[in-house]
Subunit: 338 residues, 2 copies
DNA sequence: GCGCGGCTCTATAACGTTATACAGGTGATG
DNA sequence: CATCACCTGTATAACGTTATAGAGCCGCGC
């Protein structure tokens, strides 16, 4: 269909190999020949067939970012950063949606797709250490977010326990005593949920507050609807909480909605904190206090490290990086930052 | 690196071609041989090299969906639908982010990427008819959303003018008279903005209401921040509006925020309507009345039509499809649906 | 007994690219 | 003058797959 090297070679009256050398500069070409070839390329509008190049070189220049939900703004924001970083390094990043599905994660991990991408950045939620260790595909893998430890791959995440500490400390500092958590998964396998609950419990203990199991609400998933339902249940308790900490911003925003519907004032009656710092939280009424991971750092680091591995750089062993986070005080805890 | 056809052939003691036939069923294979081959495949964990298959077949099984902003939930929701539909038809859909950048749209239109994907679904915002006509790439193209007409490609969109009519009629029906529009682009090139403004003006005229240019607020982009700023400006007018219609839900949500900050009641003082029906609008306080395009229909239709073209189906001429939409009444106009 | 069609399977030529080995020519060096 | 190094350019073998042509075998009908 398209114009290929042979067409150019004929047009310019040189060999195939010479055209290839002009295109990718693997070997020097005389100035006059180069110009003739270049002219032919311009005239015929040649662009290399990436499939064939891939076949020959063993690289596609494609990397993938696989996330559990495209519709979670956290991942969309992360993706935009990662795409830009990949482009700056000469790679194309494609998005994959695992839909939080175990089969999809496994397929990505060592499945057929691997054959067309040079490397994978994966945010796993349904698979664990064993599955990652069992992987056979040879291409580099970088894990982001929580869920899998002690595997021979780079891993980038925030310290979830510490993040919870920061959120709870803030709520305690503004005088809250009955602090709920929304987004635990009782029998679930989302590792980050367990870690965030752990941080929540530790921080309560450190503040000398009792741990009340009834204030820890489980959810099926981690969307706004889940947060709203859980908050309704909490409000139905005889003695409702005076603050809630959500597994993420979407859950927290769902909680805000339930509170508004029940005519509870935020933050006067109930203070709310989330995690992720999605843009949406800056426009809710009230605006949402949140733990803000450094998305730029996570996105850029994941891409850079993956590409370093692809290009065979001898980065010392698999590295686990904990990226920084900040507490952003907004209206939902009554004490907005400057 | 990976296991290939030759490895399987050796292991099973058959020829390369036979393995290929077992894998893709191009020609019948005897039952006993098939089993031996299948066993070898399972044991060695073979999966075909997509690059090589592409080179040979001329197809990759990859299609792309290019949108102006990954972080706009409308596109994220659309993408999830399209990904599922593509998967059901045996294709893999990858997301591309044009970042509303003209160069990015052009590069996608007939650039090098085309060589690795079988077809493209594009939501153009910075390019027009000429650019699309000038495209040289041979792979099928489906356009979604507004912006380009009279080109030899399938085009799927809602009727923006009619959508505006519906929104304005609703606002008029609940007694509003000073209706503003947020998200016009005065000198801009976003076609859908022009169309939505046109529908707004026509509907005002049909209702016997005057057109007041000061109530039409331009924005640089179409995010929450833009909506918030524009709303602030409108409120600063001597005679502020009693209703606003946003270019999309994100703009409308920004307007909601500005109204909350200024202590205006919604919908009592100002009613608000958006377009897109993003999930976020079901959780704002108040919930957002919106024009809901049939995202499922748009996403599925775009994918199905693209794949039909790729597979050479003789679909009659390029087709322009207008997909249906509905008005969803929620709290921001005071009259929630059942 | 021989030709013929049908059924399995095999050998092999592409697809478009890049890397390797090599050929021809030129100028410098021993 | 022969040798060597060097510089340009060429021919060609991969990469892993699929489609085509054809080889071998069996049974059937004349």
């Amino acid at each position: 269909m398209g114009v290929n090297l042979k067409d150019i070679a004929q047009r310019a009256g040189v060999s195939l190999a010479t055209v290839s050398n002009v295109v990718n500069g693997y070997r020097p070409v005389g100035e006059r020949t180069r110009q003739r070839v270049q002219q032919a390329i311009d005239e015929l509008g040649y662009s290399p067939n990436l499939g064939a190049r891939h076949l020959r070189r063993g690289r596609t220049g494609l990397i993938a970012l696989a996330v559990p939900e495209l519709t979670n703004p956290y991942f969309a924001e992360l993706a935009e950063i990662a795409i830009a970083e990949a482009a700056a390094l000469g790679y194309t990043l494609v998005m994959e949606n695992t839909a939080a599905d175990r089969e999809a994660e496994l397929a990505l991990l060592d499945g057929s797709r691997q054959r067309i991408i040079d490397g994978l950045i994966l945010s796993p939620v349904r698979i664990g250490r064993e599955e990652v260790l069992a992987r056979t595909a040879g291409s580099p893998l970088v894990l982001i977010g929580e869920g899998v430890y002690d595997v021979p791959h780079d891993h980038i995440a925030i310290d979830n326990v510490a993040a919870s500490h920061a959120a709870i400390r803030h709520l305690v500092a503004i005088g809250r005593r009955r602090i709920a958590f929304i987004g635990a998964t009782p029998g679930g396998d989302r590792q980050s949920a367990h870690l965030r609950v752990r941080g929540y419990r530790e921080a309560l203990a450190a503040a000398g507050l009792p741990y009340r199991p009834r204030l820890v609400a489980g959810t099926d998933a981690f969307g706004r609807l889940d947060g709203m339902r859980a908050m309704r249940d909490l409000l139905a308790l005889g003695d409702p909480p005076d603050a809630v900490f959500g597994y993420n911003d979407m859950v927290a925003i769902g909680a805000l909605r339930a509170l508004a519907e029940a005519d509870h004032r935020v933050p006067e009656d109930v203070a709310v904190v989330g995690i992720d710092d999605i843009e949406e939280g800056r426009f809710t009424a009230p605006t949402l206090t949140t733990i803000a991971p450094d998305k730029r750092e996570i996105g850029r680091l994941a891409v850079r490290r993956l590409i370093a591995r692809i290009e065979g750089a001898e980065v010392a062993g698999p590295l686990t990086v904990q990226t920084p986070f900040r507490l952003l005080r907004r209206e939902s805890t009554g004490t907005p930052d400057a």
